[in-house]
């Protein structure tokens, strides 16, 4: 009995996935657990694995295509088993309803299936009609109607998104007559040489867009900046690195992460989540660290950062950043931070403000360490200085609370021995 292969929800927020690469081809034998394809979710590239033994058949989604979660992307059949590709005995009456278990979010179930069902698309009659007349493949669209049904709006949006060869449907909002494009246009409409270039949102960009407007809009931010003398931290770091020798290296970022984590243990008021009708104060410190990746950013989480040594922090931070950049982070590795740190020092940014990642109540923006003339004991001397800016959610953190935390952090960095207290 053939088993459907569904686009599975590979991250908690995933609604659709793009098949990056098929590891198995049509006709390849597969066993349960085999990686069938690599799928780009809204967060990372994940493996779609086989849930049955057999032979891969009827691959319905090409590499590069995006489909909604719950859609059938292929079938696993027993070797030699007819999958109905040729006219055979009539399908059992149960076949059609069973195939509906492929709706969004449904648990993948083995179900008898006939070829039309393997590529079944839920679409309104009007959407089908428009698709037929304009030559659009409904399988390539994500439905926004009830139960993931493709409706007219989805076709209109696809038409706008693609290249103008899909004419918008008849009824337009008032005063928007259908403007025919000059000619069936090639994908280079706005191309690099043109006046503009329309780049479709990748999964990660969509998620960034969705997440960030839930922050700076509704979350009442305020910002606190302090300047830290990094001379002694630099000395301590040099000493540590000499000690470590070949066994590794501690970066300024590691020192800042460690100090932040320790300061948070002393200021629980800043290590908190805003939860609509309550505030969750965390006793554990899980630090999110913003990592720039191609086409976006993600904040992997350094768990129990307060309890880790600088060498451990260094190693873990590097591993997480590498994984983030190669899009191999597992969901558990980028969720559950209690506070975040964003460092743009390597870009020579003096200071900046970062956007809070809700439900966290604060984020620390780290600038570059730069030598500056400062007055020490009445003398002007040059010292390595660092600017830290904390964004606070005022619903959780008040000015004085945030300032107290920053002062502790500043003291720890200016006198690294304080971290031992």
């Amino acid at each position: 009995m053939p088993t459907n292969v569904y686009m599975e929800a590979l991250s908690p927020t995933m609604e659709e996935g793009r098949v990056v690469k098929w590891h198995k081809k049509e006709g390849d034998p597969v066993t349960t657990g085999d990686t069938l394809a690599e799928v780009e979710t809204d967060k990372a590239v994940m493996d779609l694995v086989a849930r049955a033994d057999g032979v891969l058949r009827q691959v319905a989604v090409a590499e590069g295509e995006t489909v909604a979660v719950g859609k059938v992307v292929a079938i696993i059949a027993a070797p030699g088993e007819a999958t109905g590709a040729t006219p055979g005995p009539a399908p059992q009456p149960a076949a059609a309803p069973a195939a509906r278990s492929g709706e969004r979010g449904a648990v993948p179930l083995a179900a008898p299936v006939t070829p039309p069902d393997a590529t079944r698309v839920k679409a309104s009659p009007l959407a089908r009609r428009i698709a037929k007349e304009t030559g659009v493949d409904l399988k390539l669209l994500t439905g926004s109607g009830p139960g993931g049904r493709v409706v007219r709006r989805d076709l209109e949006e696809a038409g706008r998104r693609e290249k103008g060869d899909v004419r918008p449907a008849a009824v337009q909002p008032a005063a928007a007559p259908v403007v025919p494009l000059p000619s069936p246009v090639s994908p280079a409409v706005g191309g690099r040489g043109g006046a503009y270039e329309d780049v479709p949102l990748t999964q990660i960009r969509k998620t960034i867009a969705k997440r960030l407007v839930t922050s700076l809009g509704p979350v009442p931010h305020f910002f606190l900046t302090t300047e830290v003398d990094m001379e002694r931290a630099a000395e301590a770091r040099d000493a540590l690195n000499r000690q470590l020798g070949d066994q590794g290296k501690v970066s300024f970022n590691d020192v800042i992460l460690k100090a932040t984590a320790l300061a948070l243990t002393k200021h629980r008021a800043c290590n908190a989540w805003f939860q609509d009708d309550h505030i969750r104060y965390w006793n554990e410190v899980h630090l999110g660290m913003a990592v720039a990746v191609e086409d976006g950013l993600i904040t992997p989480v350094l768990r129990h950062a307060d309890a880790k040594s600088l060498a451990e922090i260094n190693r873990e931070a590097r591993e997480l950043a590498d994984k983030a950049r190669s899009r191999r982070l597992q969901p558990a590795e980028y969720t559950g931070a209690t506070f975040s740190v964003s460092n743009l020092g390597m870009f020579d940014i003096d200071q900046f403000t970062a956007v809070i990642n809700p439900p966290e109540a604060g984020i620390l923006a780290v600038g570059t360490i730069t030598p500056k003339p400062v007055a020490v004991d009445g003398q002007v001397v040059t010292r390595r200085r660092l600017r830290l800016t904390m964004s606070c959610d005022h619903r959780v953190i008040d000015g004085a609370t945030g300032a107290a935390f920053l002062r502790t952090l500043k003291q720890m960095l200016e006198n690294p021995l304080a971290m031992l207290l």
């Binding site: 009659p125 009007l126 959407a127 428009i130 008849a170 009824v171 008032a174």
Partner: protein, 463 residues
């Protein structure tokens, strides 16, 4: 704290009480504040009692033709007072029904006038109620006069529907200002109870928001039964006496006087936004005086939502119902189906009824849509002939290329019931072909819907 609820709703009309029920169903503690009877304008002085009176009018008119059907019931005598008493019983039944629904769903009903306060609070008398999730404003609208030309509602000679619904006797003559749904329905009612009715509309036709063909059909029907219809008529002056009113009317240049024992104001409604603390909470209004809301129906003050008439047109109970449901679901963390405001049916329950959904033919022309019209008259429908209800038609406007149902307009005895086939079709993006393909029982008035769909495809059968 005893006075804390998840959701507090100000106003127990259609939007408010349905929001309360849905909130309670979703497990939220809910309080509903209402200063008068539950059910609002709709149940007490709107939709429900007028439908009762319209049926009395229908029975009167039916009996006038009874002989033709082989029935003679002796001398016909009408009594508006008795019809009114019946309509009150129907309203009370409905209001009690809402009360029962509140009890059943364990909703706390607070009697009194509520005033909004910052911090999601509502003050009623000396008590302050606090909402943990949101306050819903559902204060609705009310009738209004035309004081600019001397037509202040005085409740004796210049009345609104509020008074018309409680009259003991039909006035000998009645001028009705405004030929929208309310004006059309009262013209129908009072004419059937023996009043000499003059219907005055400033716009060029009756039911100005409906398709022109529907307006024409109703104008003909009303004139035929002896209702005076003045469309494109501007009121220039009103002389309000003790027992009569004289109106100076300018009908496209021709001046004339209309004299009546009473004037019924049926033009426009005032929004109930005064003295409920909107300003204190930072809740803004639109240019037209409705409460300004975003696409989630949230006002300019977070935590305060507006639903029903007060949130803007169309001012219809069923639009309020749906807004109440949607906000409740939103507050419970659900993702409600977006309201399609272009798919709200509009119904006038006069005889024949007028029901519509979507665009009118004029709107299709304005938008330069390529469309085809299909029509089917009830005079060609077997069931309609049998009941003697051959007035009216079904008109379906479809998109020429894809068959999308752009608009549908029905005039006929059962228009209010027939329109929903097309509402379901439009909501689910069926084209005229899906409507036609569904087998319609014979003989029914619904067949006219399928025939109109067929006509738009050039395949009408029974014509």
């Amino acid at each position: 704290m005893a006075n804390q609820f998840d959701v507090i709703i100000l106003g127990g009309g259609p939007a408010g009480y349905v929001a309360a029920i849905r909130s309670a169903q979703l497990g939220m503690s809910t309080a509903l504040i209402e200063k008068e009877k539950l059910g609002g304008v709709c149940v007490n002085i709107g939709c429900i009692p007028t439908k009762a009176l319209l049926h009395s009018a229908y029975v009167a008119n039916l009996l006038r033709e009874a002989k033709e059907f082989g029935v003679e019931a002796g001398t016909l005598k009408t009594d508006y007072g008795v019809a009114m008493q019946r309509s009150r019983r129907v309203s009370d039944q409905n209001s009690k029904g809402v009360e029962f629904l509140m009890k059943k769903n364990k909703i706390t009903v607070v009697k009194g006038s509520g005033t909004l306060q910052p911090g999601r609070k509502v003050k009623v008398g000396n008590d302050v109620y606090e909402a943990k999730k949101a306050v819903l404003i559902a204060t609705g609208t009310r009738v209004k006069g035309l004081p600019q030309i001397g037509l202040d509602i005085n409740k004796t000679t210049v009345i609104s529907s509020d008074e018309a619904l409680f009259l003991e006797k039909a006035p000998p003559s009645l001028a009705i200002v405004g030929a929208g749904a309310v004006g059309m329905e009262f013209a129908n009612i009072f004419h059937a109870f023996g009043s000499k009715v003059t219907l005055i509309e400033v716009l060029p036709r009756l039911l100005p928001l409906e398709d022109a063909e529907a307006s024409d059909a109703l104008t003909k029907s009303y004139k035929k039964r002896g209702i005076d219809v003045l469309a494109g008529a501007k009121l220039t002056k009103a002389t309000v006496g003790k027992d009569k009113v004289v109106l100076d009317v300018d009908v496209s240049g021709a001046k004339q006087k209309v004299e009546a024992t009473a004037v019924l104001m049926a033009a426009g409604r005032a929004v109930n936004t005064e003295d409920i603390g909107l300003k204190e909470c930072g809740i803004q209004l639109t240019d037209r005086g409705f409460i300004k809301v975003d696409q989630n129906l949230q006002t300019s003050a977070p935590g305060y939502f507006a639903i029903g008439d007060v949130a803007g047109p169309p001012m219809l109970a069923h639009k309020g119902f749906r807004e109440g449901v949607n906000v409740a679901e939103l507050l419970a963390g659900k993702k409600p189906h977006a309201i399609k405001y272009d798919n709200v049916p509009s119904v006038t329950y006069c005889h024949p009824e007028v029901a519509s959904i979507g665009l009118t033919e004029e709107q299709c022309k304005e938008r330069k849509v390529d469309f085809v019209v299909g029509r089917f008259p009830f005079s060609a429908n077997g069931r309609a002939r049998g009941t003697g209800e051959t007035e009216g038609f079904v008109k379906i406007i479809r998109d020429k290329r894809y068959g999308e149902i752009l608009g549908a307009h029905i005039v006929g005895a059962q228009a209010s019931e027939l329109i929903h086939e097309l509402a379901v079709a439009r909501e689910n993006e069926y084209t005229v072909e899906e409507v036609e393909l569904a087998i319609h029982a014979h003989p029914t008035m619904s067949e006219a819907v399928a025939e109109a769909a067929l006509d738009s495809l050039g395949r009408v059968v029974h014509l």
